[in-house]
């Protein structure tokens, strides 16, 4: 298990799959999405659109908020023929990533598609993310040190 995981906020199932879709590598997401061969009917509420969000930090990491700097973000909102709303906010400027994530978000809310999408899209993408985290952590862990302080001459 990850010790310093970034997973703690994603608590509802929808928040969890939205996080997985946002973190997914765009080409992997697209490949898995195409493999599902789904062609849902939908209407845009919001066409994929590129913008910025201001990232906020906290003074001292835990104090009052401050504005750290912006990041690029692409958002998309759509409605399936059945009325379900799909939303995506994805870092970067990949409109296709945002569109696919919004479609997946909508279908995941539909009982007919949920289990299949969860098994064939979300679970493998989440596993991939987890694998990357574990690999990064293993490389980092190998650089952990034990420092020994030397006695200085003047202390003797």
């Amino acid at each position: 298990m990850m010790s310093a995981s970034t997973e703690q906020v994603a608590n509802t199932p929808r928040q969890q799959w939205m996080a997985v879709l946002a973190r997914a590598d765009a080409s992997q997401l697209e490949a898995r999405w195409q493999a599902l061969a789904l062609q849902p009917e939908y209407q845009f509420i919001r066409q994929p659109e590129i913008g910025l969000t201001m990232i906020r930090g906290r003074v001292g990491g835990s104090g009052s908020p401050f504005n750290m700097g912006e990041m690029t973000l692409t958002r998309c909102a759509l409605r399936l023929a059945g009325g379900t709303l799909g939303v995506a906010y994805i870092a970067g400027r990949d409109k296709q990533h945002a569109l696919t994530a919004a479609l997946a978000d909508a279908l995941l809310q539909e009982a007919t598609q949920h289990d299949r999408l969860q098994a064939e899209l979300i679970a493998p993408l989440a596993a991939e993310h987890q694998k990357n985290c574990v690999e990064r952590e293993a490389k980092t862990r190998a650089t952990q040190v034990q420092f020994f302080t030397m006695v200085r001459g003047e202390d003797e």
Binding site: M1, M2, S3, A4, S5, T6, Q8, V9, A10, T12, Q15, M18, A19, A22, R23, I50, G51, L52, T53, M54, I55, R56, G57, R58, V59, G60, G61, S62, G63, S64, P65, F66, N67, M68, G69, E70, M71, T72, L73, R75, L85, V87, Y89, A91, G92, R93, C133, E135, R136, E137, A138, K139, T140, R141, A142, T143, Q144, V145, F147, T149
Partner: protein, 364 residues
């Protein structure tokens, strides 16, 4: 004052074509791709993102390519691009304690819960040119891994906080002023100073930090903790009303510990300076933390004796785009101004010569 001039369009077009040719360099050498810059010059990319104040590694790499590697020009390009985009609100404040640690060191405690982890660092390298990198062909890297998970890494300064020996971080949840939307008033609040410093020029802040540590200021702190790694960015979209993760971004944080001798109301204790940068720019995070603390002199009741402690001096000169713009404007036509100064110098010379001539005549 500079004046408008006309003409020169053809010369300008040709100059830009010449620039493009020079940027490309020798065509016998393979062209550099943006992906190569993004992957193989990541620290240059991190600097452009931090001072350009836009987290987007691909855009920062593109800006570096377009700017022929000139960081200030690339930062200018990124700042210009950001003005073309709409703003989708603000993120939730980052929880950096939940960072997936890729480096974490402390200059104050040898043994820490979670340990000291070097990560990928130029520290301890011998600074000898590595001619293997000059040779053609890729060098394999053999990497050792350690599958034991990292222990939790609590904030180092909280260890001091438990003893009450360090000031707590301020805990107001007021909406911080955004200097990209509102002008800075002096004295500026801490959130404004921090936003300004984070996007400030690294060289300027490094030199000010150096001056401050050498005695032109009173800031010779300890590096309480430096940590780098990935942090989740969450925001609350208006159409959802609950927070969602939009990405993990790479960040470097630094907390400095300074002495504080106490005041009428506060006991002697340690104080904090906080710095952060996008990516793995540790030098920048450290200098932000140093200057963040130096600029707290006034609010802590310390004497403000040096420019490094003067908010208006520091904060109004941190921005490399503004600084570069003002210095560069000297290249614009100042022909009329200069003509008038030329006339004045000639007149003064003439008047002096005439007066001297009269004096000589009077002496005769």
């Amino acid at each position: 004052m500079y004046v408008a001039v006309k003409g020169g369009e053809r010369a300008i077009d040709n100059a830009h074509a010449l620039l493009a040719e020079r940027r490309r360099g020798d065509r016998k050498v393979t062209e550099l791709s943006v992906a190569q810059i993004q992957n193989q010059l990541p620290l240059a990319v991190d600097r452009v993102m931090t001072e350009g104040s836009v987290y987007d590694p691909e855009l920062a790499a593109l800006a570096l390519k377009q700017a022929s590697g000139d960081a200030v020009e690339a930062i200018f390009l990124l700042r210009a691009y950001r003005t073309t985009l709409p703003r989708f609100g603000y993120s939730e404040p980052l929880d950096t304690e939940a960072m997936q640690i890729e480096r974490r060191i402390s200059g104050t405690f040898k043994d820490l819960p979670g340990g000291q982890t070097l990560g990928a660092t130029y520290d301890y390298t011998h600074r000898l040119l590595d001619f293997k990198l000059l040779a053609e062909g890729e060098q394999p890297t053999e990497l050792e891994t350690d599958d034991r998970p990292l222990e939790p890494c609590p904030r180092v300064l909280e260890l001091l906080n438990k003893e009450g020996l360090i000031e707590p971080s301020p805990k107001a949840d007021a909406r911080p002023r955004d200097i990209t939307r509102e002008p800075v008033d002096y004295p500026a609040e801490r959130a404004v100073r921090l936003q300004n410093l984070v996007r400030g020029d690294e060289g300027f802040l490094l030199s000010l930090s150096y001056a401050s540590m050498r005695g032109y200021g009173d800031s010779h702190p300890f590096a309480g903790e430096i940590r780098s790694g990935r942090v989740a960015v969450e925001l609350v979209p208006e159409e959802l009303g609950f927070p969602i993760v939009v990405a993990d971004i790479a960040l470097t944080e630094c907390e400095m510990v300074n002495q504080f001798h106490g005041s009428k109301t506060e006991p002697a204790q340690f104080t904090r300076g906080y710095g952060v940068s996008f990516g793995y720019n540790e030098r920048k995070a450290m200098t932000v933390a140093l200057m963040e603390r130096a600029l707290r002199a006034e609010e802590l009741g310390e004497a403000v004796n040096y420019p490094t402690q003067d908010q208006e001096f520091v904060l109004s000169h941190t921005d490399c785009v503004s600084a570069n713009g003002f210095v560069s404007h000297l290249k614009l036509p100042h022909y009329v101004d200069f003509q008038s100064e030329l006339e004045m110098i000639r007149r003064l010379r003439r008047e002096t010569a005439e007066r001297d001539g009269q004096t000589e005549e009077a002496e005769v």
